[in-house]
Amino acid sequence: MIKAENLVKRYGANYALNDVSFEIGEGEVVGLLGPNGAGKSTAMNIITGFLSSTSGAAYVNGINILDDPIAAKKFIGFLPEQPPVYPDMTVAEYLDFVYDLKGVKLEREEHIAEVLSVVKLTDVKGRLIRNLSKGYKQRVGIAQALIGDPKVIIFDEPTVGLDPKQILEVRNLIRTLGKKHTVILSTHILAEVQAVCERVIIINKGKIIADEKTDELTRTIEDGYQYEARIVGPISQVASALKKISGVRSAAITGARDGEANVYNIESVGSSDIRRAIFTVCAENGWPMIGLAPTGTDLESIFIRLVDRSDRKADGTKGAKREKIRR
């Protein structure tokens, strides 16, 4: 449905995208994950024809976006980072305009009413967009992308700036849309991808560093899980007791303190769950444990781990060395 072929986007000497290729099949829900400035928006803007790539090509339903932009754009609904709404129009007028703009052939009244109800905007359709809250504006933006019932819907950071309740609503909406449409979603929040997407493409500094099923990614993250434990007790004894637990690769005091407790960093081997064992050790010795939380699930540490993993795949020794240095 969507194909990116060796996309390169260069601004002067800087590469916003550096040889990015992927293919997205019909009906897939794919997350484009990466920190800010990784090139997610650039990739989306190229696929939608808003930007041109320096080299490489993007295809929508087999049509090159540069060769026949009008035909290709007919298959796409796009919600840019900032919803492209006109503040001086009412919601209904705006959608009517988008309907005309996209040259939609569906039954007008019926289709617009349906889109309004899908994004739950029916109640505010007569209000000026200027007077709507950020969450509602975002929904108007989503409604705009749905007009014409396009096969592919592309969302650029759809939940940024929304409150937690609105975030959940938008995610649910995207999940629903995913049943009928091919969806591409960009985000810098890992949990969002895990909640919504079946597949994830991770981009960092303009390059794809992982492209896999979300489940596999989750497994990768949990492989060698790290925990932060806050334990009250004699430091050397606690540390050595923790190290003796089977499945623990390393345990070290971080130096930070939380009241009476010391903060320890514990890393497990493989995917073995060591939480229960940590608790038991502390309980048996009478060391109160006042906190235990997984760490290393932020994007930054996942990137390090993914880059490590791909290095290891390419060259065993080098990766192992790096692993040592890192520790």
């Binding site: 601004y11 939608t48 024809g49 808003f50 930007l51 041109s52 320096t54 932009p69 009008i70 035909a71 754009k73 007919k74 796409i76 796009f78 840019p80 900032q82 492209p84 709404v85 006109y86 503040p87 001086d88 129009m89 007028e93 305009f97 988008v98 005309d100 703009l101 996209k102 040259g103 705009q144």
Partner: protein, 235 residues
Amino acid sequence: MIAIFKREMRSYFTGVIGYVFLVLFLAIAGVVFAYTTLFSMSAEVTPFYTVMLIFSAIALPILTMKSFSEERKMKTEQLLLTSPVSIPGMVIGKFLAAFAMFAAALIFSSLYFLFLIPYAPIKAALLIGNVLALLLVGMTFISIGLFVSSLTENQLSAAVGTIAIIIGFLGIGILSSLFPANYWFRFVLESLSILQRFQNLTAGFFELSSFVYYISITAVFLYLTVRTYDRRRYN
């Protein structure tokens, strides 16, 4: 294209620009009409249109200043450029909307001359010639305005930039009078002058070259606008 035309017309009237333009145009036209005909006891049409040309050089840039810069600032251009609409279609839709506003204002103010009919002979051909001439000039002003508006996010600089370019075009005519009558360079400048061509048309010389001149200047600036958008995708 039609959708963009409609949206543009709407935006003139949901904001103030449409009203300000029409009210100002008709009010100024009324005053100018009074001075050039009633107070000077004359039924000449050309003085009215010549003054209105100068006024249009200021009024039209205000009409067009928002057209692209606002879309760019509000990021709504991302919708237009990712929708199945061609860039020329988008530019022409906006051009036609501004032109429709101008044509409506001009034709309505030309009706003032009907009041003179009982008192003085008004030559229909001359009147039509003048309206046509100013429509052609307005067309070029609008295309310049759209082009400059596509270059900036700032409406004010769009308006000022447009007025500057228009003054440049008008200035060519004045410059030409500095050269001796049969000098070749004077001929070149006169052919490029918006004012000179306008005077030819209003005097009743319907030369083909004048039509070609105005239409090609318009086409060049509309083309440059399209190119600006094409180019921006690569930057």
